[in-house]
């Protein structure tokens, strides 16, 4: 069966985002960019399913500017077989990305679509669920374990209060949580191999999707700063401060 994996190019998880002085957004010029960590987990899961013989082909998809090719090459270095870039310089919001992915799902007919549960830039946590709704597919979000047998997937999900397991009829959409797997390091030979893999580019117009943003960002500002705290020398002082100054215990 085919698996389709969606990957997003975002500011690296170890970089602290800086708000632009004019309040128009976050400064991403000259900042290290990487694959969204949850999407890396999604690619890794697809590759493991291929290594188990469940999945036969992995298609990685990224939507955005031309530089997303780098993200697709990384996905192919982890083990995706080919890549599709939906190239657009427009701001792509989750509903637009879900529609683009839906068009590709119609075309490629994957049995499994795996995405990260959220991107660490806009923190939306929407695209997988939206895709599932648009394609009329069942979904399992926040997955920490995936098992595929026949035409069913059994997925353990991280939910409030613990874990739950649900069974989905394939085709289905799965979004990954942190503990699904630990992505492998990409090796140099695999990076070289990935350069030779097929990478197609399409436009939103080719897929017949209107990607015009629905939400307008009026401004982006710094969060309120916490007042500077103090260091206390010992536990007794700490307890005294909590009781008599902060009055929280």
């Amino acid at each position: 069966m085919k698996a389709l994996v969606a990957v997003k190019r975002v500011i690296d998880a170890n970089v602290k985002a800086q708000v632009k002085a004019d309040g128009s957004g976050v400064d991403i010029a000259n900042v290290k960019m990487s694959m969204n960590p949850f999407d890396e987990i999604a690619v890794e899961e697809a590759v493991r399913l291929k290594e188990k013989g469940v999945v036969t082909e992995i298609i990685a998809v990224s939507c955005g500017e031309a530089k997303c090719q780098e993200t697709l090459r990384t996905a192919m270095a982890i083990g995706a077989d080919r890549g599709i870039l939906v190239e657009s310089t427009e701001e792509l919001q989750p509903l637009a990305v879900a529609k683009l992915l839906k068009a590709l799902v119609d075309k490629e007919q994957p049995q499994l679509v795996i995405l990260g549960k959220q991107a660490i830039d806009d923190d939306n946590n929407q695209t997988g669920q939206m895709l599932a709704a648009l394609a009329d597919l069942p979904q399992a979000t926040f997955a920490s374990k995936v098992e595929v047998a026949g035409d069913k997937a059994s997925v353990t999900r991280e939910v409030d209060g613990g874990l739950e397991t649900i069974s989905l009829s394939l085709p289905a959409v799965i979004t990954t949580d942190l503990r699904l797997n630990e992505p492998r390091y990409v090796t140099l030979p695999n990076i070289m191999k990935a350069k030779k893999k097929q990478l197609d580019t399409v436009s939103p117009a080719d897929l017949g999707v209107d990607v015009a943003p629905r939400l307008k960002t009026l401004k982006v500002s710094e969060p309120p700063k916490r007042g500077a705290g103090i260091k206390v020398p010992d536990v007794a002082t700490l307890v005294d401060k909590l009781k008599n100054e902060a009055k929280v215990i």
């Binding site: 976050v26 929407q126 069942p138 289905a172 215990i249």
Partner: protein, 311 residues
């Protein structure tokens, strides 16, 4: 127009997250606030929702298909009544986040995730980049589908309302997904998102045994909820639903005590709105000290037991 709140409940009671979401709904200033209780044998939860101050109507949809919060069925239930509303608000819980985008996509509208403030009926504030920036966004869509970060809004009063309860026909099962089982983390302690005090442990604890041995007595003494950093959860020292951070639980208790947590930006994103933050760490350079009201540079294995004895 009217605002619809999707209740978080366990069929018998309404979860606190619903109360914060009702407050956000009132802030939308779009008229009445209705609450949907989609469940199975959930009359008690519906009755509890009807008592929430500020709610004018409760819609109770009762069906076996709604027993386990399957996203496909709950979304269909919301969509069945969505036409009557200007705003549809979900708490940003695991359930709310699971269902809301399905509803938005089917209505062909954007979703506004994790709002922390209602600026006007069409404009909202929401944190992005792990809370390192706050975006003010405006929606031009006819229906606003929103998830509400509960720490951004006070809880509405549980009592004082007397809404009418109206029954709605429950949806049929989608047939595409099925509930298999649940592994609940058993705890007598308060839930993290509702706890007044949280004590949280990091990787420095070294093992799940040590985590329990050192952190649990402090939580017990303070009547606190127990939290953990991602590193501690990944290492298996604490269960997944204890994780505080950007992609885990977002908490804002009166007192947050972080022991052996260095303070990665992803962790700070989940707790920096706490009223008072205490950091106990032996590394003077640990970033957690930059957000702490009271920092104690000490080995947690001696400081935490000493704290248990002193409070």
């Amino acid at each position: 127009m009217t605002v619809l709140v999707i209740a978080e409940h366990d069929h018998a009671t309404v979860k606190p997250a619903t109360l914060n979401t009702v407050t956000a709904a009132i802030a939308c200033q779009s008229g009445d606030v209705h609450v949907l209780v989609a469940g199975a044998n959930a009359a008690e939860a519906a009755a509890a929702a009807a008592k929430i101050a500020g709610v004018s109507k409760v819609i109770a949809a009762d069906s076996a298909s709604l027993a386990e919060n399957l996203a496909e069925n709950v979304a269909a239930q919301v969509l069945a009544i969505a036409g009557n509303y200007s705003h549809i608000l979900f708490p940003a819980t695991a359930n709310g986040k699971n269902v809301a985008p399905r509803v938005a996509a089917k209505l062909d509208v954007a979703q506004i995730s994790d709002i922390t403030k209602v600026v006007s009926p069409d404009t909202f504030e929401r944190p992005i980049y792990a809370g390192n920036a706050i975006a003010t966004v405006q929606s031009a869509d006819k229906v606003k589908v929103v998830t509400v970060r509960t720490t951004g809004f006070d809880a509405a009063a549980k009592e004082g309302g007397s809404a009418a309860v109206e029954n709605a026909t429950g949806v049929a099962d989608s047939g595409k997904s099925a509930f298999v089982g649940r592994e609940v983390t058993k705890s007598e302690r308060p839930e993290l998102t509702a706890a007044k005090i949280i004590v949280s442990g990091g990787r420095a604890l070294g093992s799940s045994e040590k985590f329990q041995e050192v952190m649990a007595p402090l939580a017990d003494k303070l009547g606190a909820g127990l939290g953990a950093s991602r590193a501690a959860v990944d290492a298996g020292y604490a269960p997944n639903d204890w994780q505080v951070g950007q992609t885990g639980k977002i908490v804002a208790p009166q007192l947050y005590i972080a022991a052996g947590i260095s303070g990665a930006i992803q962790h700070l994103a989940g707790m920096k709105d706490s009223k008072v933050i205490v950091a106990i760490n032996k590394d003077p350079e640990a970033p957690i000290f930059s957000v702490a009201d009271y920092g104690l540079e000490a080995d947690l294995f001696t400081a935490v037991p000493e704290l248990v004895g002193a409070v």
